[in-house]
């Protein structure tokens, strides 16, 4: 216990905490994107996916709280490191000049803290669904609203996992909720700006954790830098394509006709 505490207090220990939690968050944003891209498939796909996630019950809360803990630890460790760094150089240079670092690497704390605001809004928007002025067509009314639903739009399984038994009227029309949520240009713009900040954050972070784990070397240095930037841009384009396609009218609400 003592050893763990002293590790967590050391410079390299804290860096490792940031790297481990950062890697977990990279895996999360990647998985979340793959899930969300089902938006471009027939609406049943993402509705069934959303339904599946919501019927996880207690496990869903374990995942949610786990993610919250990971994000919280990532933030606490980086704030602590940043405060130490500021203390180590209270007075900066009159004409700062840089040779190797990037705008992304020097603004990690800024992009990160703005992303926290983004996450809070995102949760209010689509998880708690309390953003004022929004009405979501969020329920799918099946022909008989009282039956227990084993099936959404012909799906009895999603990615091989059977759908749970949930009364039909609680099935959310996730597809239409997303379309409604991105209808306003300023909300979509906010999402795209948020994703750009995520892109900057990842372009540095995705290469950084490899170095912090002690696995970077001259041999892989180039590939790692390029790879992390490509990854960051892929995440940006993937996520931004959703609000962009709604704004451009490429994807439209389907109403309750999507299912039966």
């Amino acid at each position: 216990m003592n050893a763990l505490l002293s590790y967590c207090r050391s410079s390299i220990g804290k860096k490792t905490i940031v790297a481990v939690t950062g890697l977990l968050l990279i895996l999360f944003v990647t998985g979340h994107l793959v899930g969300n891209l089902q938006f471009f498939l027939p609406p049943e796909w993402i509705n069934a996916y959303g339904h599946k996630l919501q019927s996880l019950g207690a496990l869903l809360w374990v995942i949610r709280l786990g993610l919250l803990a990971v994000v919280g630890t990532h933030i606490l460790a980086t704030i602590s490191l940043t405060l130490q760094n500021r203390k180590a150089r209270p007075q900066g240079y009159a004409v700062p000049a840089y040779r190797a670092s990037t705008a992304a690497s020097r603004t990690m704390i800024v992009s990160g803290l703005i992303l926290v605001c983004f996450i809070v809004f995102h949760l209010l928007h689509f998880t708690v669904r309390v953003v004022p002025g929004h009405t979501y067509n969020e329920e799918i009314h099946l022909v008989d609203g009282t039956v227990v639903n084993h099936e959404i739009g012909g799906f009895t399984k999603h990615w091989g996992i059977p759908l749970g038994d949930v009364p039909a009227h609680t099935v959310h029309n996730v597809h239409d909720m997303m379309v409604a949520g991105f209808q306003r240009w300023y909300i979509s713009a906010f999402y795209i700006v948020g994703m750009f900040l995520l892109c900057m954050h990842l372009s540095h972070g995705a290469a950084s954790f490899v170095q912090t784990f002690g696995l970077r070397s001259r041999q892989i240095e180039k590939g790692l830098t390029i790879g992390s930037r490509l990854f960051a841009w892929a995440i940006f384009l993937g996520y931004s394509s959703i609000p962009a396609s709604v704004l451009l009218g490429l994807v439209k609400a389907t109403g309750s006709t999507c299912c039966k």
Binding site: S10, S11, I12, R89, T212, G214, S217, R218
Partner: protein, 258 residues
Amino acid sequence: MHRKTMNFTLRVWRQKSANAAGRFVDYPARNIPDEASFLEMLDIVNEELEARGEEPIAFDHDCREGICGMCSLVINGLAHGPNGSHATTCQLYMRLFDDGSTIYVEPFRATPFPIIKDLVVHRAALDRIQQAGGFISNRTGSAVDANANPVSKRDADGAMDAAACIGCGACVAACPNASAMLFVGAKVTHFARLPQGQPERDRRVLAMVGQMDKEGFGNCSNHYECEAVCPAEIKVDVIAHLNRDFDIAKLKSATVGV
């Protein structure tokens, strides 16, 4: 002999003592030969200052041939100045600057490097890190036969590259976080890649990182500015090595002991 001379305006950090407030003061540097080094240019300016009865600008220097690591300075925001060829300030030549330009001259800035006077900073924090474990304790005796301790070419090269560190502290000065991890990484890697360094390998990395943290250096966040200014061309690979060795040593110390 034809000598090209240049003129500059120096904006120099002047600070009477550790606790005094410092400020920038402008000095003209006139008729500077283009083949003068940056330190020789400061000598010329100081001669003029002394002739006028003013306090000369204090700066660190020793060998003036790029090997001792004593010279410092942050010039126009860059540790050891705008030298593209990984060299120290004493190996920086005035012909690299634009004639007539204004040059900012500042000390290495980091809390663990307190300013003694003007551009002179106290870099003993690096010595204390070194004393915490940057050595091997066994008696070396007289030199053994060259092939008595077989070392692979890869490790010999890696250790040699790390051992090139001259301890000038430019890595700390250049790091936006004032981290000393390139320095500590070089010292740790130097021993960790040689057979003589193995017995104390874990204890060494724990002690040196412990001292580094105690001195109040910042934490590497992988900007790699250190690598870009290092006159000895130490690569950030040594920081990866340091991270790796520290994690393993911590794990061992919590379980099997080191």
